[in-house]
Symmetry: D2
Subunit: 323 residues, 4 copies
């Protein structure tokens, strides 16, 4: 049972009562509120809710990543699928920054289907990302596969939980005890309920800095790598106060589909786009068919910003959107 006392006094009264009754409970401070988790049932109070991710808990969350405020205006994270070497990252970072990216993405620890595919540079990759961060003054986001890597990633601004770890609950619990922002992807076989429940593992540890990133699911279509159910993005916006990001690169698997898919995601209400860009896609060590050329990204970023402004500005929009 989750209870959200309306003010300090109600919280104190509740806790006094729980102590008096000898009930087992736990409190967590999140978003300047104190939330009480109560074992068992039977507490009559109007202020209980089912999930911390839910819009019955709060209306809208803005996640601050080193000054980038995700959930306000459109956030764009761009960069290579994998960190391959310093030159590649520096050149790509320089370009995406110039063309308007808010954040630099890049994988140092890569969860690859086959053990014989390029597995990432690991620690060295993190160091390269840090150099790009310093050089171009751009926050970085990279994937964490395991709590062990957390220390190495101290200077990383946002940690991505990938599709294959989307229900790695020990990892999620670990991140819940930190306050570093998390970009939480959906598992490729998960429903929206499972994806949202994954965020609850982080939230109920006290970390509210979560952005939900939809990267499509397995489906029956052969022309795209995964199935981008745009309805899931729309449903997520209605079900959770957390910002919603879309990854059009993995969902489409083809660079020529990325622009249209990103535009659709923004039109559907997405707060953030994470897109793969490589300074030389043809030579990429992974996912070479889906990474954009820098010049494609230049055009894309411009369009996405214009579209976001346009969508937000349309008359009556807000009246309908979250009725």
């Amino acid at each position: 049972m989750i209870i959200v006392p309306v003010d300090e006094k109600e919280k104190d009264d509740l806790i006094e009562r729980l102590n008096y009754e000898g009930r087992s409970y736990r409190t967590v401070n999140i978003y300047d509120k104190t939330v009480v988790f109560l074992d068992g049932k039977g507490m009559s109070t109007e202020h209980h809710i089912k999930h911390l991710y839910s819009r019955e808990f709060r209306d809208r969350t803005v996640v601050n990543v080193a000054g980038v405020r995700i959930g306000e205006s459109l956030t764009i994270a761009a960069g290579p699928c994998a960190v391959e070497n310093e030159e590649q990252v520096m050149e790509t970072a320089s370009l995406v920054k110039r063309y308007g990216a808010d954040m630099l993405r890049g994988g140092a620890y890569k969860p690859r289907t086959s053990p014989y595919s390029f597995q990432g540079l690991g620690k060295d990759g993190i160091r390269i990302l840090e150099r790009a961060k310093d050089e171009f003054n751009i926050p970085i986001v990279t994937e964490i596969m395991n709590p062990e890597y957390y220390e190495i990633m101290e200077n990383v601004d946002m940690l991505q939980v990938g599709s294959r770890n989307a229900q790695n609950f020990d990892l999620l619990r670990f991140l819940g005890k930190k306050d570093k922002p998390v970009l939480l992807k959906n598992g490729m076989g998960n429903t929206i309920g499972e994806w949202l429940d994954a965020s609850e593992y982080i939230l109920n540890g006290g970390n509210g800095n979560i952005v939900m990133c939809y990267r499509g699911v397995r489906g029956i279509e052969e022309s795209t790598r995964f199935t981008m159910n745009i309805g899931t993005v729309i449903a997520a916006k209605r079900k959770t106060h957390l910002p919603v990001c879309v990854d059009p690169s993995h969902a489409s698997g083809k660079r020529e589909y990325v622009e249209s898919m990103a535009l659709a995601a923004v039109a559907a209400g997405s707060d953030m786009i994470e897109v793969e860009v490589h300074n030389d896609p043809e030579c990429a060590l992974s996912d070479s068919e889906q990474q954009l050329y820098p010049d494609d990204f230049r055009k894309l970023a411009k369009k996405l910003r214009k579209l976001k402004t346009f969508i937000d500005g349309m008359d009556e929009k807000t009246n309908i959107q979250y009725q």
Copy 2:
């Protein structure tokens, strides 16, 4: 083998040669071209293609439905799921016309999963649609389940082939011999290849007046009725010259998701939106949860038009879109 001679002379030469060689062939006139279908293989000519739906055949098709030019600017078809009675249709038609719909949709013959659900008014439903057409000067689109109904539907402007008949090849062949425009939905378990191949059954009969309507597929998501793989819409735009329509009503199954899904579809490049609107959705005899209130449609139509203009106007767009 499909051969598209570049001019009249080449066509005549080819046919002369085929006759001389005693080969079996068939010609069809479509889009002011003559196409030669040749049994067997072995004809060496540069002008053969694989599919008439393909963009290797032609770049872009505009389908003219009683003056509504689908594939130019955005087309919006709106109206009830099912024709229930004259008052309902007249009132709905009056409102959607006033709010900007280009076409009126409504089902008279309804393919319902269960035989005990409302099956539509049949011929009487067609008559009601015709009255609305005359009264409000708006073209009508309705579903044909069977060639037998064709005569009854003489005054219908566009015939819809529904998801359940998406691979009813006898129906498709029949429509191929007519010139009435067809709105061809995808089967709920079909890949894009199967959907496009379905159009080929109509095209190779000589009817090029086809609009491809994506209504989502079966998927793993529980929060939407079907799975709207926006990637399929994007792929369809690249693979075929035929206009592409999206049906956000069936794909979402929830009226509160319809607006965002329709906006996403337009952002992704959709040429047409077909949306269910009912003058009194709560009392609808079918799909009551997904039909829009007229006032929702008023806002939606305005936004869709604005968005389409905006998307089409964005700098450099065309350079990338169909590279």
Copy 3:
């Protein structure tokens, strides 16, 4: 509302009352019962049910196809995907009959994804099947795509409704008015509910001679052509009194998987197996990779019969199976 009076007297009383009250109703005779379909609701009687396919209507149905009693012991239908010529059919029929097939299958009208694939021999194909029927004294089953073909198929013993017409309700209604046995496949994107509801269109017309044939659905697996959810077969056995058939040829798409899949289907409770066998699979005009060699079929048929006997004979089976 569907009412199943327990005896003649109850039926007469009910109808008298309905006539007296001026209510609209319809009666159908099926399986030696009279069923009353009542418009609207409000009739208080204990003997109403939801669906005629349901096991609340009857326990188990045996469908008699020219003496072959489907639903008693295991029925095996075998034969080529498509009728290609007389020699092919005669040779295949001769072999499958010798090796134990109860019925001969073969497609004369072929619903093919592409209009440029072999479309079947049509009427000539039916005539060839009839000759094989006479020559080898074996009932024949072939696909009907359209009521128009019904007359041509007068001598066909069982009509198959294929996956692409699984929700072609006009065709289903038409077959409901005949008494010819129907082999009803599931649509490739259909749930079990949709599949069972399709049978209701035939049943409520008065034709109870239906065998439900599961041929798999679209899924995420790449190693098989379709996804054979064996759980659907199991669920079907519990939900309907109609016999259940499995088609391992289309579900697997690979002849080397057919035997194991057929064995699994029988172990799961399937009453019938429909399998593609070709006298020369490598040269088949369609689905050449999934058609069995005659000698494979010889072994398969033997094993299936043995397994069925074994499964039916296992102790306690019946206690658990339909608890």
Copy 4:
């Protein structure tokens, strides 16, 4: 590049040559063979293969779990979804052992979709399983979510990697360095290729004691919890030398479907069945609808053994099975 030298001499020659050429390589001993993993390409040798899981590497593997030889005759693991308390485990263990289970399963660390569901007893649960193991002389299998738990699980005989960690590559790599047997489930959104590749992470670390456990995937069916594509089981048997297990409990989600699904799995060639049994299913803290009553298990185990013997004994079977 993976090279499997045919004998000691060839291995020595190869390594000498690699050293001489200064090439980077790694050797692993597995199944009494030495395998050489070579960076880069270009080594001309006939003895290279693509995957260690493949049947081109070896024909068939038997995994020995404390004397239980998985891959020879049928292995049955049974027990509760979750360890709830000592009495429950002892009573269930006593019964499943008596009724013929080879192994006891039970979850101590439970990966639950929601953080508010029962998460398992953790270390205490492991201790309870160990007591049951000692008391009833039955090997135990339990899920490991994280390398950290490995020490606690020292006395566990087989470690299960669950669906949610099926692509947790750090966990797989960790298990590759141990020799404890692993029961590797498929991810609920994974293709067979991804599932097999997951085993390669363990195999190429040197641990060949792996049993592949198929628990179904997400699909379109509503009547079962997951989709048991029996074709995937069949394909797995042909693609890998590792034993294949099926979990009918999670795939069906309904105890009344478990028996038929397990029979189908054995008929399809499954080497092992892992099934959930609870001494009091109605009161289970998780998955109460799919856990069998002990008496159901008694009948099931008997039937499965009989069926396995029958299937293995059928004439000519082997000739066809792995042609």
